[in-house]
Symmetry: C2
Subunit: 297 residues, 2 copies
Amino acid sequence: MSTSGEDNFIFDTIAIVGVGLIGGSLGMAAKRRHIVRRVVGIGRTEQKLMQAKLLGAIDEYSLDLETGASEADLVFVCPPVRNIIPTIEQMASGLKPGAIITDVGSTKSEIVGLAPVAIPESCSFIGGHPMTGSEQGGVEAAFPDLFVGARYVLTPDSETDLMALGKMTEFAEAIGSEVLLMSPEEHDKAAAIISHLPHAMSGALLEVAEIAQRESGKVFPMAAGSFRDLTRITDSTPEIWRDICLTNAGPLCEAIDALRDHLEIFKNIVAAHDEEGILRFFERAKAIRSTYLRITK
Amino acid sequence: MSTSGEDNFIFDTIAIVGVGLIGGSLGMAAKRRHIVRRVVGIGRTEQKLMQAKLLGAIDEYSLDLETGASEADLVFVCPPVRNIIPTIEQMASGLKPGAIITDVGSTKSEIVGLAPVAIPESCSFIGGHPMTGSEQGGVEAAFPDLFVGARYVLTPDSETDLMALGKMTEFAEAIGSEVLLMSPEEHDKAAAIISHLPHAMSGALLEVAEIAQRESGKVFPMAAGSFRDLTRITDSTPEIWRDICLTNAGPLCEAIDALRDHLEIFKNIVAAHDEEGILRFFERAKAIRSTYLRITK
């Protein structure tokens, strides 16, 4: 990639609100690949922003949302999911005409519904969700190749400006990710199944195990491989998961119902000692898992 | 550990029926630690037994159950769970008076109920389940330290010979594991929760995801970390899991019901947008998980 002139930049200036793992990695990726001229970090803690600058994630920083975002052609809004709309509202009056605003929130319908109303008419909003990293983790963990090979979901709806969508797609591809276009509703339904439901399952499994552990004291000592695997994700930050559930309640509840139905079917097969049925269940699981691995690899 | 004489051996001769990952590692561990004088491997395929000998898992082998087990002071029965009782029945008439028979099956109540009846009165049966490895995997994957730091569940009941239990405990500790004594019923209830239920959950999650994938085609491409973690265990052999479910149907069905109840509670909290309740759910999950990690580490 050439660095000969601004002509090669996808954007001149980008701003990143919330320079943590994802925000920091976005800045590093954009700078390393010379696809933007300048990265402005925005946050509330000067020390963290200074660190982000030292780590090469941003060129300069601002503690003020409006000022920090005012010169940006593209603004990444990276706070936890329920702070995204308030953040956009706060910086809205300072936004440059024509600026594109995008977020990295884990749920999309609510945000994509509210964000366009919160920004000036001359600006465009593109909902986004890079399927990598997490909203946790600080800039210390950021690295420029975080997005390489990852899916980057963009969630246009009927109101979305196609020029802005095109530029955002160009940016996401330039940092190494593969863009997946989905409606906000499609995204939220899929995210409920592949991410939010697993967190609920994991929490429920821990509750079941804890009750048995209290009775015998020997359940946890016995638990190895599969239990460890299935509960690993509960190490996440509870507040972040609360907010994800609150902003995706409908699809999550539907996913829980669907899981319950499949578990119920399996339970009945087991209770009936249906050898063929049990075998088929595990054969199907194995087959679906390999289809999944083939598609994502 | 000294090798100066037979006096230091816990057993003179042990036999291992089914020299795969677990059986092979048992042999290697016993030989490496000089706690037995001789290891006899028993199986149906000469080539596999020759390989086990070459790898140092056994000293000699037999293709005949009765003959192979006839000189053993301790016999490990390592086939998949539903073949354990038939295997014991087949070798019973050849067993040496005073021999201890133990198994490594994933479920215990059925086996511990039937095994003592299948062996001569002069012999003892101790149900066992080392919480490591799996019934899958060949002797190529075996290694002498497989049991180091792992829990080794022994499941005595009121009929169990305490001398035999003591010697079996000594053996399990000598190969580096920590013995956990549980009744067969306690074991099966715990195993249903920490291992069999996770496999059912994983299979049901894959069914839910597959239906959504068929609708949109974008569910699998989006699935990353947590989905991959929660479905990894379905790579196991379906036949083995069929047999585990068939021999532990009651506890497994109860575990599924318990999980369903906890998921239902969580769903209602989410549907009610109960912020405090959702937060508490994830906080509890995180706290239970760290208790678990503290206990098992």
